[in-house]
Subunit: 211 residues, 2 copies
């Protein structure tokens, strides 16, 4: 039903969670059918873009009718790989790591932080809203127990590369990096650098252009 083998542009993959969230809201409102035009109004992407994005993975709508909301939501979960509750870990339990654990635990319906890691004895063995902080050397064991999909890296710049070695040795292949440093990784490891500076700077435009 779902084709996940194509070479799909990053921009398409980035829009999928936006569609997912919109469909989840429609489901909560008990809406059964949605047109690409209505999805366009709710997401800000054009109807053509939405139809084209979904075509990468299969044919999910009916011309003239639209999409069955629940079916399309389930298909997008499958496309992303979120069809089960997905396990992730947080590496680095400073202010940012703690904030992300709290944020995730309470807000994200599809992703589950199963453990956090640090080396600092003052945080190891602590518990943050039910998430246990373990010494980084335990990562491989945790990976064996859960099938960890992503490591969120929130250590400081100096510790980042060493932490990455632990992550890779444990078998995790995707890193969401908040440390402001270019990580050195093998080709089969995917690093996504979070960059709040970029978002912040683009906002300055709106603060200054409307005068």
């Amino acid at each position: 039903m779902v084709n996940r083998n194509g070479d799909v542009p990053k921009s398409v993959i980035r829009r999928l969670p936006v569609y997912l969230r919109t469909l989840d809201i429609l489901i909560r409102n008990e809406q059964e059918i949605v047109s690409s035009r209505e999805l366009s109004e709710k997401t800000g992407f054009t109807a053509e873009q939405i139809r084209k994005d979904l075509t990468f993975f299969g044919a999910f709508g009916t011309r003239g009718t639209g999409y069955t909301v629940k079916y399309l939501r389930d298909m997008i979960l499958k496309i992303i790989g979120l069809d089960e509750r997905t396990s992730i870990v947080v590496v680095g339990v400073g202010h940012l790591g703690t904030a992300l654990i709290r944020y995730n635990v309470t807000k994200n319906p599809y992703v589950n932080v199963v453990a956090a890691f640090d080396v600092d004895p003052s945080v190891v063995d602590k518990d943050i809203l039910g998430v246990k902080v373990l010494h980084i050397s335990k990562m491989k064991e945790v990976m064996k127990e859960y099938n960890i999909k992503v490591a969120i890296l929130t250590v400081n710049t100096e510790s980042a590369q060493e932490a990455v070695e632990y992550i890779i040795k444990s078998g995790i292949r995707v890193i969401f990096n908040f440390a402001p440093v270019k990580l050195i990784v093998p080709e089969n490891v995917h690093v996504h650098n979070a960059d709040l500076s970029i978002e912040l700077q683009s906002l300055i435009y709106y603060a200054t252009v409307e005068k």
Copy 2:
């Protein structure tokens, strides 16, 4: 020299800081001229896209030669509105607010956190890497002293709308919102919702598709 009056798509504005960062690296490496093809290699956007984006604001390059690095950097600073050191504030000094203050203070060359605000007596009057935490009722005074361009909102869901009223009353017109709640604001106020869940979910795709 710089046209900032056009109706520019959001996606273009979001790419400008990426160009800016790339140009800053070239300047540090003392490179004087750059082609759109080289900018493409370094940013991941196509050369056509880069040329098209810049055309919204003026003509900055020479056909067959490329762009003068410093000139283009200065033009992009002007386009974004970053031509002076831009003042922002952080509203909410929990884990996330603290992390953003530390992150910004040490990492962002163009944006300056001039103050932070909270209502909690246990954090008001504290100092985070030189950034003073003030009671939220002082925001208007700080706005008078500095010309605050953006408020980063990191309070909890329950306090978000009340904090927004203070922000708007103080005259700040752009809000970077990390509270997972839809804020109610007048039409002339621009809210950008940070959404780490969206980024995280799109990463799950890469963790699951490559098996």
